[in-house]
């Protein structure tokens, strides 16, 4: 799919937080074959670039700097600008956190930060609630995609309200990327079946017992869910429906 100026092929995107080593991250990237890889902007102790940047360049992955931890629109806008300077990309995963405990977005601050960053030439991908009205406001503000949460960041609760994701999908015509809450493969498949264009998984991979194996599992799950939606699932029936013919049964 197209995100701003770049073509993103893989529908599994990954976050990189929580892994013990860059070596494991390399293996995770190779297993996940991610469409985009998120990073956060933090202080450099030696005032130089991190080893992470070298690794991402080595693996030729497109990087998506986020504004994780920003508690105001102003802070998020400046962090986005620093990300652009350091990484040479106009992409930004915009987070304006409204509550440090639940890490849920502040959608009012989010809309204003998105408006400001779009005007500044950014390709904005906002982390938002599964609210179709807010999603439409973000698209009207010029966002290139919307990233609704399935459940709180790192909770692994999956998609607590699937109908909300379906409403977001129906409300906008930009890519919808399920962000936050994915716990395992079935959650990722469900996200795609609900109409998402991609899934971002961070904790689900990085804190799994075996991150590389989970990366592979999620990659398969995203493909499975995407194909299943295209295949047109059967309707849900409250009654049973025989899968073997009733006719031609023998009298025994």
């Amino acid at each position: 799919m197209r995100i701003g100026t770049i073509e993103v092929t893989s529908r599994l995107w990954i976050g990189t937080g929580g892994l013990s080593s860059l070596a494991t991250l390399r293996d995770v990237i190779d297993a996940a074959d991610p469409g985009l890889v998120t990073v956060s902007m933090r202080r450099s102790s030696d005032l130089g670039p991190s080893g992470l940047i070298a690794l991402l360049r080595e693996r030729h992955v497109d990087v998506l700097p986020n504004t994780a931890g920003c508690l105001s629109a102003r802070e998020a806008v400046r962090t986005a600008q620093l990300g652009r300077e350091a990484l040479g990309t106009s992409l930004v995963k915009l987070e304006v956190i409204g509550d440090e405990r639940s890490l849920l977005p502040d959608v009012v601050g989010l809309v204003s930060a998105a408006t400001e960053l779009v005007a500044d030439g950014f390709t904005v991908l906002p982390y938002t609630t599964a609210d179709p009205v807010v999603a439409r406001r973000l698209v009207d503000a010029g966002c290139a995609a919307v990233m609704p949460l399935g459940s709180p960041i790192g909770s692994g609760l999956g998609i607590t309200d699937p109908s909300a994701i379906e409403r977001v999908r129906a409300a906008v015509d930009v890519p919808v990327v399920l962000d936050a809450g994915i716990g395992t493969a079935s959650d990722a498949a469900l996200a795609m079946e609900l109409g998402c264009d991609a899934v971002l998984a961070a904790t689900a991979i990085t804190r799994a017992e075996q991150p590389v194996a989970m990366a592979k599992a999620l990659r398969l799950a995203v493909m499975a869910g995407h194909r299943a939606r295209a295949a047109g699932r059967i309707p849900r029936l409250t009654e049973a429906r025989p899968s073997s013919p009733m006719a031609g049964r023998a009298a025994l």
Partner: protein
């Protein structure tokens, strides 16, 4: 003079530009007293006593 670099006090010679403070150009970004300074401007951005400089790079994150 005394400035703050990433929150820590540091003694730097006078005069001192942002470019002199930060040796690298790629993979890092800097803000002076909250305002983002583009890399092309670092060399002619002079630091003053009490300035707060933030120098960031990319770390693993969700």
């Amino acid at each position: 003079m005394k400035i703050l670099v990433n929150g820590d006090p540091r003694e730097v010679p006078t005069p001192c530009s942002l470019g002199e403070l930060v040796p690298h150009r790629s993979g890092v970004a800097a803000a002076l007293n909250g305002n983002v300074i583009r890399g092309m401007d670092w060399d002619h951005t002079a630091l003053s006593d009490g300035d707060a400089v933030e120098v960031l790079t990319a770390f693993q994150g969700g």
